[in-house]
């Protein structure tokens, strides 16, 4: 299979590889996929809770080159966006940017799911104390 130049670039020079402390309340973690399916993505965001801006993003991916590139690209796009803006990133944007062939579209879907899962985790963490107070 021939890869696009952008996929090759992300594979050779993945951006924002790493892990954050997932217990921190300003960090949201999304882990999607399964080893037996051949793809697992972990995507993390660190959000400035005052401004709602994503200040940092990190990923680690087990998967093919397109999966690595999709998650690497996602971290690039996330940084500097507000949480709400980040929710607007669509898998088709990733497909277009990386010129993914049809058989690799699931990689972009996985990246979109990882973004949503990370944001969801962050929101749950932020929301948890509030809802606890409401209950009491």
């Amino acid at each position: 299979m021939a890869y696009s130049d952008k996929v090759v670039d992300h594979y050779n020079n993945p951006r924002n590889v790493g892990s954050m402390d997932k217990s921190r309340t300003d960090v949201g973690t999304g882990m999607v996929g399964a080893p037996e399916c051949g793809d697992v993505m972990k995507l993390q965001i660190q959000v400035n809770s005052a401004t709602g801006i994503i200040e940092d993003a990190k990923f680690k991916t087990f998967g093919c080159g397109s999966a690595i590139a999709s998650s690497s690209l996602a971290t690039e796009w996330l940084k500097g966006k507000s949480v709400d803006e980040a929710l607007e990133i669509k898998n088709t944007d990733i497909v277009n940017e990386l010129a993914l062939p049809p058989v690799k579209i699931h990689c972009s879907v996985l990246a979109e799911d990882a973004i949503k899962a990370a944001i969801n985790d962050y929101k749950t963490k932020q929301g948890a104390p509030v809802s606890a107070e409401t209950v009491s």
């Binding site: 594979y11 399964a34 037996e36 051949g38 793809d39 972990k42 087990f62 058989v103």
Partner: protein, 404 residues
């Protein structure tokens, strides 16, 4: 060192220059039809075909009259299995094969299933070998054929062919073996092994593509086949079609070279393969060999590199030509059915690489490949969330995954 380095010799092999040299005159000045009985062009072609037949027969311990030329192993497998199923339909309709056979055997069996045959697909033991007790138990009075490959194309595991041959003989069942990976690599002898039908192809042993042969036993028992190709009645009526004379010359020359050089060459390949394995194992943890090492082709290594997905690994070693059992490298999105038949989890099947060494590989290439593999596996593990979890002591089998 020319790149990409070719370590995919189970898929195909380059034509040996000595083979090519033998073939060339049969494209041009010696272009005759081997079936032309009344002029010199035909005689020259026929002589060349008969020489090729002898060379092939010699490699497998057969008589040259028992060799039927085909277009390759897929056709040989089709002819053997369908030919027996049709010819012996009155005797029975049951065929026994194994789950790790090549698709040319499995799909032929599936075709016959639709036509009313009953097929038993034997599961394999974890080491990749056929369970002989299970084979014995599977035989019924309706069984007409056992088709078990000599050596596997993915994991290189060599089946206990002699024992299978013995069981088949005891029970009066014919035994076919797809031997494309074994012929020319390890000693194969149809008499000692008790094989009644054997498939062979040119391009796996440094001969040309598009030519193969089927050994069909003539004595004890005399095996009969229903032809699958009708026409001029070539090849004792078993396979009509004008013979591919240059291809047959090439296949014959390839067999002769392989037979002559086998002792030295198999020792050389085994040493290279063992060095590759030892270097990888010494420098990388969490690697797993797929299939037994004890009964294996000298040129095969099939290894899983846990926590690193196969296709991304291939992308990192793009100056090395190998294959992966990962789903992403196949059209089906399913990981290797051979590895799954060994009971390997999909996760490890996705991380497997098949190395197939060949006649033209060197020690310098093995050193290069080993180092490159180590570098890329380490790099991708740094990127792998599974590796991180493994290092943190997380039991991955207990994690709730959000499968797609």
């Amino acid at each position: 060192m020319s790149k990409p380095i070719y370590f995919d010799n189970h898929a195909t092999t380059p034509v040996d220059p000595r083979v090519l040299e033998a073939m060339i005159p049969y494209f041009t000045e010696n272009f005759g039809n081997a079936a032309s009985r009344n002029h010199a062009y035909g005689w020259v072609a026929e002589d060349a075909v008969e020489k090729g037949r002898k060379q092939i027969a010699s490699l497998i311990g057969a008589n040259s009259k028992e060799i039927v030329f085909t277009s390759g192993a897929t056709e040989s497998n089709n002819l053997a299995i369908k030919g027996v199923a049709e010819m012996y339909a009155e005797k029975g309709n049951h065929i026994i094969t194994a789950a790790t056979e090549h698709k040319a055997v499995l799909d032929t069996c599936k075709h016959l299933e639709k036509k009313g045959c009953r097929i038993t697909y034997l599961p394999l033991k974890g080491d990749g070998l056929v369970d002989l007790d299970m084979l014995r138990d599977a035989i019924t009075d309706k069984t007409i054929l056992i088709s078990i490959m000599y050596a596997n194309n993915e994991i290189g595991v060599i089946q206990p062919v002699k024992e299978i041959g013995k069981i088949a003989k005891e029970r009066g069942v014919l035994f076919h073996s797809d031997a494309v990976q074994a012929c020319g690599k390890i000693p194969v002898n149809v008499i000692e092994d008790g094989i009644d039908l054997l498939s062979i192809t040119g391009h796996k042993l440094y001969g040309p593509k598009g030519v193969g042969a089927l050994y069909v036993r003539r004595k004890n028992p005399r095996v009969q086949l229903t032809a699958q190709m009708d026409g001029g009645g070539h090849e004792r009526g078993m396979r009509s079609g004008t013979l591919n004379v240059p291809g047959i010359v090439g296949l014959g020359a390839a067999c002769e070279i392989a037979q002559r050089e086998m002792p030295a060459e198999s020792a050389r390949l085994r040493a290279l393969r063992d060095k590759l394995r030892a270097t990888l194992e010494a420098n990388l943890e969490e690697t797993y060999i797929n299939g037994t090492m004890e009964h294996r082709l000298p040129n095969n290594l099939n290894m899983s590199f846990a926590y690193v997905e196969g296709e991304s690994l291939l992308m990192g070693i793009n100056d090395i030509a190998v294959s992966s059992g990962s789903a992403c490298t196949s059209a089906t999105l399913e990981p290797s059915y051979v590895l799954k038949a060994l009971g390997l989890g999909d996760d490890l099947a996705h991380t497997s690489i098949r190395f197939g060494l060949g006649r033209f590989n060197t020690e310098a290439e093995v050193d290069y490949v080993a180092q490159k593999m180590i570098d890329v596996v380490n790099k991708l593990r740094e990127l792998s969330p599974l590796w991180e979890m493994f290092k943190d002591g997380v039991d991955l089998s207990k994690v709730q995954w959000t499968a797609h």
